[in-house]
């Protein structure tokens, strides 16, 4: 074995253990495997649980697994936000790099998914700035790459302050740069942040109703080498705490489907499946709540040019609506005359197929540009 590839024996040991257990999941050399223990730990941005907290949670994994399997029978046995009627409501896998910013990534993943799913608009392709959430909001709370952070704090910031778009503050793990000064006008905010901690049925209901959920879990040393299958930890050696987004579940396999933020070179293209109850994924060993979703996401921004697929008006004053291809229904903002003007532009766009560039503020279509 090459001395500069110490992980080779590590992966082999995990494989040997899995072999003895009948291959419940597959281990391989991932981009995380190749990192030193120090750099792996740098990517775990949830403060590690104490041994006492873990010991106090004896029996929790079994209880959570049972609760997940006996969840509301009205819920489907299998659900995956990447394939809802052939459409995906999950944005791309990101890479947090060498910073313990995973909570920002899990939080933003939940917001991006919810924004699209609640609007039935898979083409929304919202890309929010994890840098804004972590390097500005979390930093203001005293969190650093080394300290990690907690999701209740960051979700609260997404509701109170909001998160700008990635193009206004691109992420890098060093935290350099600053958001565009115009960020208050290019912003997404969480609405109705919901604590789902220790309630698998509520987690499922939230995912299938509103979108992805952010959760914290304990990372054991073998998790870095996960490639595919339903993960169950095979070692008791704890590396730290981590935050990801849950995007679905599969009762037959007894697992959650998660989206990680370690790039596509880890796991199954950046995704993973983890057994119900495993690694305390429904309730992190910590007194504070650690599983959150949001019920909607408001947007204030110019959106990319798109088609107006439907128009709607009523006999009431100033009540016009447009169904935008990648956003959904938007109310034409302003008074009666403004609505008339917008409707005139939009009827032309709707009939001719010309694209509409909308400025959205909540559900209001504030400004509209129709161009050849």
């Amino acid at each position: 074995m090459s001395p500069d590839r110490p992980h080779t024996s590590e992966v082999a040991a995990v494989r040997e253990t899995l072999s003895q257990q009948g291959h419940p999941w597959q281990a391989a050399e991932t981009r995380m495997s190749r990192l030193s223990a120090e750099w792996r730990a740098a990517r775990l941005g949830v403060p590690a649980p104490s041994a006492a907290e873990i010991a106090a949670r004896e029996g929790q994994p079994e209880a959570m697994a049972a609760a997940a399997q006996s969840a509301d029978i009205a819920l489907p046995a299998k659900f995956d936000l990447r394939d809802v009627g052939g459409r995906t409501y999950v944005t791309g896998v990101r890479d947090q790099g060498g910073c313990g910013s995973c909570v920002a990534f899990g939080t933003v993943a939940a917001m991006e998914s919810t924004a699209a799913f609640t609007r039935s608009a898979p083409g929304l392709s919202l890309d929010l700035s994890e840098a804004h959430l972590f390097h500005v909001h979390a930093k203001a709370r005293g969190y650093t790459c080394g300290s990690g952070s907690w999701p209740d704090d960051l979700f609260a910031d997404t509701a109170a302050i909001g998160v700008t778009f990635e193009d206004y503050f691109p992420y890098n793990d060093a935290g350099t740069g600053a958001p565009n000064a115009d960020w208050p006008n290019r912003l997404a905010k969480s609405v109705d942040v919901t604590d789902l901690t220790a309630n698998p049925a509520a987690i499922k209901a939230h995912i299938s109703t509103y979108g992805a959920v952010a959760t914290c879990f304990v990372v054991y040393d073998d998790f870095f080498h996960y490639r595919s299958g339903v993960y169950r930890h095979t070692t008791s050696s704890v590396a730290g705490g981590h935050c990801v987004a849950l995007i679905g579940w599969d009762d037959a396999a007894g697992c959650w489907i998660g989206k990680n933020s370690w790039g596509t070179g880890w796991g199954d293209g950046g995704y993973f499946r983890i057994a119900y109850g495993d690694s305390f994924i429904e309730d992190y060993p910590e007194p504070r709540p650690t599983v959150f979703g949001v019920k909607s996401v408001t947007i204030k921004a110019w959106l990319p040019a798109q088609r107006a697929l439907r128009l709607f008006a009523t006999a009431n004053d100033a009540n016009g609506w447009a169904y935008l291809q990648n956003f959904g229904w938007a109310h034409l903002a302003g008074g009666p005359a403004t609505t008339t003007n917008k409707l005139a532009e939009l009827t032309h766009a709707r009939a001719s197929g010309h694209l509409v560039t909308p400025y959205i503020n909540g559900t209001e279509l504030s400004t509209v540009l129709v161009a050849d």
Partner: protein, 134 residues
């Protein structure tokens, strides 16, 4: 020499833009109540309809009606005096509930007529169109 008289070509309704698969319009704004017949209407070979009688009895309210064609428009000298001919149904007055709303309904009805786009509409208790989706 025989002169060939061009036959009138019936215009087909324009193709409906794709909506997201599984889009449940009833679940998003604005709501579309259930109960519409959903029957596809075609542009009938009919003589141009005569303008409606303004003092005719109000027709029976039908709630939501889906997927119909508006083929003719008629207006008289009132700020809320526009009627539309719904293929297979007849003349329907656009609700006069507000002047701006009436103008908006007219704009949508005009587009639907010009571009042969099917519409969904809702009638109020007096049988007048008070909501229009194109």
């Amino acid at each position: 020499m025989t002169t060939t008289v061009p036959r009138r070509v019936r215009k087909s309704p324009a193709a409906t833009p794709e909506l997201p698969v599984g889009l449940d319009i009833a679940s998003i704004m604005p709501p579309i109540p259930p109960g519409a017949d959903g029957v596809s209407a075609t542009v009938a070979e009919i003589a141009a309809p005569r303008p409606p009688s303004l003092d005719s009895a109000a027709p029976q309210a039908a709630g939501w009606v889906n997927n119909r064609m508006i083929t003719h428009l008629w207006s008289y000298d009132s700020s809320t005096g526009v009627w539309v001919w719904v293929d297979g149904v007849g003349w329907k007055r656009l609700s006069p509930a507000s002047e701006s709303g009436h103008t908006h309904l007219t704009a949508l009805a005009t587009m639907a007529t010009h571009d042969n786009l099917p519409v969904d509409y809702h009638e109020d208790a007096s049988g007048r169109i008070d909501q229009l989706l194109v």
